[in-house]
């Protein structure tokens, strides 16, 4: 199963639905790129590789999570605001201000929840994914950044940057399960299709591979400088390296770094299409998006986008149109 974790819940809704969508036409993957400096949201048709819309999105947006029901969640770090937007029009359907430093975001559509990390207060807010009202808070290590849901929906994990650890919770009961020591200053993380959890360590320039169930660290893989985001395709993990301006491709079989791919300057957010046939990377300094073929491991196109694209989270919506 190659599509991204964000789309796994959709598979549970029914394979028939997915097959119907693919039978009628190629799935229309859409990327939603948060541009922090320019305070805009760029909507990109990934199949055609062109930008279809650019919408204003105030408050220095960075965090993003594509919802399971035609909606999109964004985090404006400057104004500390969580927005729920229409993926069709960019209209803000609801929003809420959180007292702290909201940064990362992930949706759990099974439980109808959103998780938002608080950079300044060592916690995740747990919000209702419709009303955006806070249901509860769960305690993490210092400076939580990236958040990921496991593909089977059992676990939610946060990369606690200043604690050099990953916190793992039961996604159903919200009980803390593990605090796993990783490399230095973990930031972005994601569950591989096989269930292993990969986290990029900005300070030690490596990726820790974890078993969320047992809480064990399985391996540490060296990558480029300042690894930031992680996505999975073609039986590889692809990691953006902010300072190296590259992707590192790690084999999921051997956990060896197998290839380095040059992309734009300061690559950050990375996500993959529903079919797993194209990676999309936001290059923060260049104001571009790179499209990378995970089979040939090469850039197929570079596209201009808005100022300061970060796309920190799952930002591709696939096969729903």
């Amino acid at each position: 199963m190659l599509w991204s974790n964000a789309l796994a819940p959709q598979a549970e809704l029914g394979l028939a639905l997915f097959l119907a969508a693919t039978a009628s036409a190629a799935p229309a993957d859409t990327a939603f790129v948060t541009c922090q400096n320019g305070e805009e949201l760029s909507r990109i048709d990934v199949t055609e590789m062109h930008e279809t819309d650019r919408w204003p999105l105030p408050g220095k947006p960075a965090g993003v999570a594509v919802g399971a029901h035609g909606d999109l969640f964004t985090v404006s770090a400057g104004s500390k605001t969580i927005q729920r937007l229409s993926t069709k029009t960019g209209e803000i359907l609801s929003q809420i201000v959180l007292d702290g430093g909201p940064i990362g975001i992930a949706q759990d559509p099974r439980q109808g929840r959103l998780f938002v990390s608080d950079w300044y207060n060592a916690r995740l807010w747990v919000l209702d994914d419709k009303t955006l009202e806070t249901q509860t808070e769960i305690t993490t290590g210092e400076a939580p950044a990236g958040i990921a849901l496991s593909g089977d929906g059992r676990f939610v994990a946060s990369a606690d940057k200043d604690a050099d650890q990953v916190s793992v919770f039961d996604a159903g009961t919200l009980q803390p399960l593990h605090r796993i020591p990783v490399g230095t200053r973990p930031f972005g993380l994601g569950f591989a299709p096989d269930g292993r959890l990969f986290v990029g360590n900005v300070g030690s320039n490596d990726v820790s591979v974890l078993d969320a169930e047992s809480g064990k660290r399985l391996a540490t893989v060296p990558v480029g400088e300042r690894p930031y985001g992680i996505a999975f395709a073609n039986n590889h993990a692809f990691v953006t390296n902010q300072y190296s301006n590259t992707l590192t491709a790690i084999s999921l079989d051997t956990l060896e770094p197998e290839a380095t791919i040059d992309v734009g300057e300061y690559p950050e957010g990375i996500d993959v299409t529903a079919k797993g046939d194209l990676l999309v990377i936001a290059n923060w300094f260049d104001n571009t998006v790179s499209f990378v073929d995970p089979d040939t491991m090469s850039v197929v196109r570079t596209l201009e986008t808005c100022d300061g694209p970060r796309a920190f989270g799952r930002f591709l919506e696939g096969g729903r149109q």
Partner: protein, 179 residues
Amino acid sequence: MNRRTFVATIAAASAPGAVWAHGPTRQKVTLTAEVAAPPEDVWAAIGNFDDMSWHPAVFSTEGEGENEIDATRLLTLGQDGGPTIAEVLYKHSAEKMSYSYRITAVEVEVLPVTNYSSHLTVKPRDGGGSIIEWRGAFYRGYPNNDPPAELNDEAAVAAVTGVYQAGLDALVERFGAAS
């Protein structure tokens, strides 16, 4: 600042969480200048990491490692005993006429930024002369929530822009404006 207080500053900055904590929004600045001299001449003047004498704010440069990766330099600003900025080189290409470096230690009172990285590049200009490009990426000086005005995002951008502008203005004066 004497050497002893400088060492103390490094030690304080290396405390866990202190030097790496940063605000929520990374800032960027790109400034360019067009000069009449060819790229080789400009690069000869500014391409050595251990010599920043071309910048009017720099009183002295104490370099170690020349243009090798991980070379370091300590800039003293203004006058003998003035404030310092410690930097490390992480990329250098004479062929591309470009180098990249990071600040490893600076007081926010001197430059109100954290996690600062920068590239300095010389390119040929259509119609003759050179384009000098100086780019920086950084966070504001105040790592926590709700920064005071002198350490907020705008203050960081204004300070870096000021440094780049002063350096580029000096190069235009030295090498002549492109026409």
